[in-house]
């Protein structure tokens, strides 16, 4: 069961996302696709899983060219994809999700779910409502569903963001076993360490083309060199200014819903300080950020900015007070699908009643240069890759800020982009801007924070100085175990 990809090309407008990509993977291969943001990985995976149709090229499974018009056809041909956010219906039970798209009886499919799951060490409760499952468990459910559908090729897109270390171990063990049984695994990740740990070979993409293949494991430096035209730089980290005044304060604030909200949170942030929020997905980081951003209502407690009570004000008032929020859902909460880069820049920066599109275009070109956005002034926000959407969000930030709130600022960004983004962010500290951000990446938290707050079930359970702690301590605390 060899998977071959021959000369896949896909254009979006002027952008060539995939430019004649060819691959050949024998059965049982654990193969990784690497590349920086916008290199064409996501497009290639979407083509293989039938979400996007290629302009030209073939996908051949065991000598037979297969039609990939829709995810349904791809699945029928034997290619299944595990998306970054598992595609499950949250109000359904695990068994109901498993049964979607299958014609088997309730009893038979439930039995199959349990049996297939346990074969790979997944303990899935068929009666559990999917909403109550962790991201890792939802992934396991999806994998089991795809396997039951008879797939021969499994595509995983950034599967390890948002799952625990244990779940990652279980996932990798299961993938090894599946590969041993002849399943071809295509693994997309930015984490080179994981790629080396799991995969036996790698294809590197740059600007939509294959620029190299290699056996794994290999030195991470070599892989980085293949991915980027020049080596990446981690920005140097200036120490926090010690004497800044208090920018913002939360006093016993409760906000958000029962599941992901925060309860009686206290927090003080000083000028120029960077505070990192650690915790499992949905432990209250999002609610804390939104309480400050003015996009969530506050049930109890007080919020002050610069000493003034701003507990019940709108996002617009917050923006006027010098607070900006970069939400994790870039297209859902931050950008305007269908509107161009120029229009975004114009909205964010120009307050004149009448618009001058020529001047706006020039400003857009400046921003594209300054933030290295891969796109033109006329590119719509939803046509940009995830990393470039993040860059656009950064370009939209007002020049003067008191407080910058960010959810997963570098999720989905490659190392180079992440370093670049942080370089730009840290520059702002010189003007006294305070930063609060959440991240699932402990290294990111340790590298860029002055202080790290660990959240668990909506409560702040630890406050650590970043230079006095390490990945192990933070990792343990994230799971809710407070060490004595």
């Amino acid at each position: 069961m060899t998977l071959s990809v021959e000369g896949i090309t896909k254009r979006f407008g002027n952008l060539v996302a995939n430019d004649g990509i060819s691959l050949e993977l024998p059965a049982g291969t654990l193969h990784s696709i690497l590349g920086e943001n916008g290199a064409g990985k996501s497009t290639l995976m979407k083509i293989l899983s039938g979400i996007v149709s290629p302009d030209s090229g073939w996908v051949i499974l065991d000598g037979q060219p297969i039609a990939l018009g829709s995810p349904e056809q791809a699945l029928a041909a034997g290619i299944g994809m595990l998306h970054q956010e598992p595609l499950v219906c949250l109000p359904f039970t695990a068994a109901e999700n498993f049964r979607l798209g299958s014609r088997r009886s309730v009893a038979a499919s439930t039995a199959e779910l349990v049996e297939t799951g346990s074969r790979f060490g997944f303990r899935l409760d068929p009666a559990a409502v999917t909403r109550s499952l962790s991201i890792g468990e939802r992934q396991q459910l999806e994998i089991v569903r795809l396997l039951a559908a008879g797939i021969k090729v499994l595509i995983l897109d950034e599967p390890t963001s948002g799952i625990t270390i244990n779940q990652r171990r279980e996932l990798f063990a299961a993938l090894h076993r599946l590969a041993g049984e002849g399943l071809t695994v295509l693994f997309v990740s930015h984490k080179l360490e994981e790629v080396n740990e799991l995969c036996t070979s790698v294809t590197v993409l740059r600007r939509g083309r294959v620029v190299g293949t290699s056996a794994l494991p290999r030195r991470e430096e070599d892989l980085v060199e293949m991915m980027f035209e020049q080596g990446s730089l981690i920005p140097t980290r200036a120490p926090a200014t010690e004497n800044g005044g208090v920018v913002a304060e939360l006093i016993a604030v409760s906000s958000g819903d029962e599941r992901t909200g925060i309860t009686r949170a206290d927090l003080q942030v000083n000028e120029g300080e960077v505070v990192g929020l650690a915790g499992l997905e949905g432990s209250g980081q999002g609610s804390l950020l939104r309480a400050l951003a003015g996009t969530a209502s506050i049930q109890r407690g007080r919020v002050t900015i610069g000493g003034r009570d701003v507990t019940h004000r709108t996002a617009q008032r917050a923006a006027e007070a010098g607070i900006s929020f970069l939400p994790g859902g870039r297209l859902e909460e931050g950008l305007l699908p269908g509107l161009t880069i120029t229009e975004h820049i114009e909205l964010a920066s120009n307050s004149a009643r009448f618009l001058d599109w020529d001047a706006a275009r020039l400003r857009a070109i400046e921003a594209i240069d300054a933030f290295r956005i891969k796109g033109s002034p006329d590119s719509a926000a939803d046509q940009l890759s995830g990393g470039n959407q993040q860059r656009l969000l950064l370009a939209l930030l007002p020049p003067k800020l008191k407080l910058l709130l960010m959810e997963h600022p570098t999720r989905g960004l490659d190392l180079d982009s992440a370093a670049y983004v942080w370089g730009r962010l840290l520059e702002r500290r010189k003007d006294g801007t305070a930063i609060i951000f959440s991240s699932a990446d402990i290294d990111e938290l340790l590298t860029y924070s002055d202080r790290i707050l660990v959240l668990f079930e909506g409560r702040i359970i630890a406050r650590l100085a970043a230079r006095d702690t390490d990945a192990e301590e933070v990792g343990t605390l994230i799971g809710g175990r407070v060490t004595a």
Partner: protein, 345 residues
Amino acid sequence: MTGSIGARIAGLVAPVIVALAATIGLLLLADAPPFEALKLIGEGAFSGKTRFADTLMAWAPVAIAGAGLVVTFAAGLWNIGVEGQIVAGAIAASLAARTVPGDRGLVLTVTLAGGVIGGALWGGAAGVLKVKGKVNEIFGGIGLGFVAQAFATYLIIGPWKRSGVASTSGTEPFRPETWLPTAFDTRLAPIAIGLALAILIGVGLVMRGTRFGLRLRAVGSNPASARLLGVPADATTMRAFLVGGGLAGLAGAVIVTGVQHKLVPAIAGGRGFLAVLVVLLAGYRVRWVGPIALFFAAISVGSSQLQLRLDLDSSLGAVIQGLLVLSAVLFGGWFAKRQGLGRQT
């Protein structure tokens, strides 16, 4: 951007051909000579100054209401309440026409302005329900439409009834000073046509060249993101309803002062819903609203000839309009899918 010029032309022509073919089939089923019938529709709309004038007067209210709908659609709003807003504008215009004394210039100005205010009030009500009450504008608009329609009927058979008889055929005609002046010995009122053209151009300029237009589109794309970018989303939504409702109300006032010269129960007569279809077909772009509205007005006016000359029901015109809309929407979706635009995430 995506798609060749050829594909775009095909996208415009294909639905017309399909709708035409379906119409011919229908006419054959009705035992009518199809080409004769189509020719009669064309002649009925455009041959002779009288008919052409009637077509233009049918066009003006639809074009004006359509321009208003471009504004509400840009803000992501399905302002189905446009029909009721036309009625509200017509009621307010009738009130002014009945009560304001003085010469034609003053009365007409107040009457047309009254229509704008009436429509804006009704649009604003849908806006308040949406922004403050979280009532979807489709349901709010339909509900408010019933209220406006019932109120119009009440006025016609109640307080504003003709002397002696209460009739659903309408009020007494208003005094001639409240009629839009006509030209060329036809029913053509140049003021109505001028207003419609000015509004189409004005809305085009606002959408292209002002911060208000850009903010409308931002809110229409994603209100949550728009808020974070500093756009007052609720206020922008309200303004969209006020502008859309005001223009619908003006369309109502034009019908009262330029076509009916009195208030009748069916004063809107489906023109609001027709305007919705026109704007959908125009792809929400104001520059296409004028031509497409003219095409539809021509079919409505022209199809009355079918009854006179071929003894066919004139509602066939409405059937043709419906077929055109359906096939255009169908082809629009099909082309989008073929270009893979509909599937991108």
